[in-house]
Amino acid sequence: MADGVQILRRNRPGFKAKDFCRWPDEPFEEMDSTLAVQQFIQQTIRRDPANLEAILKMPEAQDEGVWKYEHLRQFCMELNGLAVRLQSECKPETCTQMTATDQWIFLCAAHKTPKECPAIDYTRHTLDGAACLLNSNKYFPSRVSIKESSVAKLGSVCRRVYRIFSHAYFHHRSIFDAFEKETHLCKRFTYFVTKYSIIAKEILILPKLDDETPITPPVGESEA
């Protein structure tokens, strides 16, 4: 195979888990695929999931709509991980409603008429609904350019997705902490929605998550 001369960024059948996606970074300018933004975001996250600024630093001349859209895709995707953990603990019997603080009960918007779903269903439905919306051929037919009207749709997805974080935080704190420690997802999400003013500040009900990430040198596996 043509390896050696040219770097082929591939996961080949039989690769060990630690080698998965472990290839040299590709500069954004050289990515010529239609999925360049996703590639770039995933690559930066892989380098150091804690380095929020690097992850959310938009390359120059990048369409902001697409940038936000791809980030939201990434959030929803990684939230699957939180949902998996919640599935084991968040039961319909115990968390009968989607709540965070006692102030609000969130209704599940996935149904024809919004419904009081148990928290776990709310979580799953919200993620499934987000997956459908973000992959909808109608609103997001392209991953290179996005209509202004479609960008507006991102806000409501963000709001609902944030409730998953808040429910986990207030009701399943240990899961939340373990997950956050691994992925820094909530911090990244908060940073993201604040930076691009997608969600109003007062809706962000989670207390500021401890260390507001000083830019640390990359810890994880750095690429060869």
């Binding site: 960024r9 591939r10 059948p13 039989g14 888990a17 929803c76 599935q87 499934d128 997956a131």
Partner: protein, 709 residues
């Protein structure tokens, strides 16, 4: 492809083509030949009446009275009933034929008008198919000639004739290159054929009962078209005889003769070959009719399946029948009419390799080619129909439900999704249909890499992930709503013995075979109390000899072979090992230079197919270990392999973004589809065949899965 005939090498001297009835005893094999004779007494009406008869006799025996009289009565009833049944069927057939003919005429007229702006004067020149077509009236002929002159002029004005020449010479060239193959080829080419063959082989004896009679009826049909086209052929396709006459009248095609001569030369060595082909094509048509008749009269499932599988538009009349019927009746008819448009049509046809290849050699009615080409393209071209978007990241694996029009995809976004192709969302643009997932399976904590579907009716599937787990899932019913409450029962047992990424899964006979980057392949009984049945690890000294390899000999993929008695495991170092599952010992070892990515074992033959990173697909004899064939299949690493359930076609996917369909007999590419975009340097990650229905699917790194019909 090449030679669309089903009986290629067998019936060498059937110049009179599809006369199923008259074929008897002409030649070697031909199951066909035997069938009509043995089957007459076993048709459905036959059985029914036989039962009646038996019942009558039983009555007789019991009562012991009026033995003779009752017997005669029964006999009379039997015969009369049979006659009536025959008559009904005949009428039905005739009606259909007329309908088809009419539709065809209309279609031709329309085509003609559209193409040349001239009203096609076909009048009643097409004789009713029940009788041998008489010679065209001189007056009509004159009319025709006029019309043809006109067409010819038009064509010449727009330079069509040149194009025709080009196309023809192209064909000749292709044929030159392909002649050899054609001879050696196994007859079963078309999608359609495989069913056909299946039917023949599987049901050869008992199920014949129902078919036999059909066969008879069918026989009448082809006979006519057979005579006409066959006769036409005998006289170099230009004779004035029956329908072929029409074709002959297209004098403007005379310049074909040049080509014909060419072909004749090329073909001189194998005149029989060409001749037999002609015969067989018509045979083939006969079969088609049979088949369709079968599907009509036999169980719905059959009929439905076929109807589904070969949706042939155009003919206004009955959908499924129209296709085949038209094939038969139209062999001559379309032949003639098609000739008019032949040049044009041939031009428009995407003359892809496959299509070119199947054009027949002879200079017999060219329209014949076109006719079959048309059928071919109806049958064989897979078109993208459904796009499955909902995954956030690359789709690593795809597997169809064993029976339903449903499938499961597994993605790097850590989820699996279940899709029901019968619940679609109309897409914005006409092109295809979007499907929304029915259910999202969440439990893996890392990308899901592989997938296997359980046996029919078990409603389960298995997935393996980068997290090293294999999970068993109970599939929700295809009617589930994606926003139903969460049901933890969907999650079945989890198999955790693998210590590294699980890259391939294969399920058969209630067992599961996995291969993992931890260096082992394992055999499971997924729902047993102690699921792990065996661990296949290559610790043979021979392998250790390649010390460098042994160190990181990670299995890339595994599949059951020999009806589940063995396991074929391919390794990243290019080794293919066959394990005996009883003893867990290696029974065969072959290797090549290039890392292997996939392995599939042939459903019926002792043949293993492997996909390689050096763009090759290799075929291995599962007994001797000999490399039976190797071919460069793609422009980049081959990543996906799938064999159709009958083992006639092979589907491959590659990082070159294309999916290719291969004819396993000839090892030629039948179709190429560009399906997915690249993410980093990955593109297509998996391909699949539906075990029963006419679906194929591809999964890509772009997060999409596509289904083709």
């Amino acid at each position: 492809m090449k030679i669309p005939t089903a009986m290629d090498d067998s019936s060498v001297s059937h110049h009179n083509g599809g006369q199923v009835g008259s074929q008897i005893g002409v030649n070697v094999n031909n199951k066909q030949n035997d069938e009509p004779s043995q089957s007459v007494q076993y048709s459905i009406p036959g059985i029914l009446h036989f039962i009646q008869h038996e019942w009558a006799r039983f009555e007789l025996e019991r009562s012991q009275w009026e033995v003779d009289r009752a017997e005669f009565e029964a006999r009379i009833a039997f015969l009369q009933g049979e006659r009536k049944g025959q008559e009904n069927l005949k009428n039905d057939l005739v009606r259909r034929i007329k309908m088809l003919e009419y539709a065809l005429k209309q279609e031709r007229a329309k085509l003609h008008k559209l193409k040349y702006g001239v009203e096609l004067q076909q009048g009643d020149m097409r004789p009713p198919p029940e009788e041998l077509p008489p010679e065209p009236e001189p007056a009509e002929r004159a009319q025709w000639k006029q019309g043809q002159q006109l067409i010819k002029q038009y064509l010449q004005e727009i330079g069509y004739t040149d194009t025709i020449l080009d196309v023809r010479s192209n064909r000749v060239r292709t044929l030159l290159g392909l002649n050899n193959e054609e001879q050696g080829e196994d007859p079963n080419y078309r999608n359609y054929d495989k069913q056909q063959r299946d039917r023949y082989e599987i049901c050869s004896s008992h199920a014949m009962n129902s078919m036999g009679r059909k066969y008879d009826y069918g026989g009448k049909e082809p006979r006519k078209s057979g005579v006409s086209t066959g006769g036409g052929y005998n006289e170099e396709g230009l004779s004035v005889q029956e329908t072929a006459a029409v074709f002959a009248n297209f004098e403007f095609l005379a310049n074909q003769e040049m080509d014909m001569d060419e072909i004749d030369d090329l073909d001189a060595k194998q005149p029989h070959h060409a001749a037999s082909k002609q015969g067989e094509e018509v045979d083939h048509e006969a079969e088609e009719v049979l088949n369709e008749l079968n599907s009509l009269t036999e169980s719905e499932a059959d009929g439905g399946g076929q109807g589904d599988e070969y949706p042939v538009g155009k003919f206004a009349g009955g959908p499924g029948v129209a296709a085949a019927g038209a094939g038969v009746v139209g062999a001559g008819v379309v032949g003639a009419g098609g000739a008019g448009g032949a040049g044009g049509e041939a031009d428009e046809e995407p003359l892809a390799l496959g299509e070119l290849a199947q054009l027949t050699v002879s200079n017999e009615p060219e329209a014949y080619d076109v006719a079959s080409a048309n059928k071919e393209s109806f049958r064989k071209t897979w078109n993208s129909k459904y796009t499955l978007r909902s995954h956030f990241d690359g789709v690593r694996a795809i597997a169809f439900h064993p029976t339903e029009a449903a499938l499961v995809t597994a993605s790097e976004d850590h989820t699996l999704k279940l899709w029901n192709l019968q619940r679609t969302v109309p897409a914005k643009k006409s092109a295809g249909l979007d499907v929304e997932p029915l259910y999202t399976f969440r439990a893996h904590t890392a990308p899901v890499l592989c997938l296997a579907m359980g046996a029919p009716r078990s409603e389960e599937c298995f997935s393996g992930g980068l997290d090293g787990t294999i999970r068993v899932w109970n599939l929700p019913p295809p009617t589930a709503d994606p926003y139903d409450p969460y049901d933890p029962a969907v999650q079945g047992p989890v198999l955790r013995e693998h210590t590294d990424a699980v890259w391939s899964l294969s399920a058969a006979h209630g067992r599961l075979l996995s291969s993992s980057a931890d260096g082992t392949a394992r055999l499971w009984a997924p729902r047993a109390a102690r699921p792990l049945l065996a661990t296949l690890r290559d610790d043979a000294p021979a392998h250790a000899a390649h010390a460098a390899h042994a160190a990181h000999a990670a299995p890339a993929a595994a599949d059951f072979a020999d009806a589940g008695a063995r396991a074929a495991v391919v390794y990243r170092d290019g080794t293919l090992l066959l394990y005996d599952l009883e003893t867990t010992q290696v029974v065969m070892r072959v290797s090549c230079d290039s890392p292997m990515t996939r392995v599939r074992s042939h459903p019926t033959l002792p043949l293993l197919v492997t996909a390689h990173e050096d763009r090759h697909i290799r075929f291995w004899d599962g007994v001797s270990g000999r490399c039976a064939h190797a071919m460069v299949a793609h422009l980049d690493a081959v990543t996906g392999l799938a064999l159709d359930p009958n083992g006639l076609f092979l589907l491959s996917g590659s990082h070159d973004c294309s999916v290719r369909l291969w004819n396993l007999d000839t090892k030629t590419c039948v179709q190429e589809i560009t399906a997915h975009r690249k993410k980093f340097d990955e593109s297509i990650l998996d391909v699949a065949f539906h075990p029963l229905r006419p679906y194929i699917a591809s999964a890509g790194a772009d997060g999409l899965a596509k289904v083709f019909v």
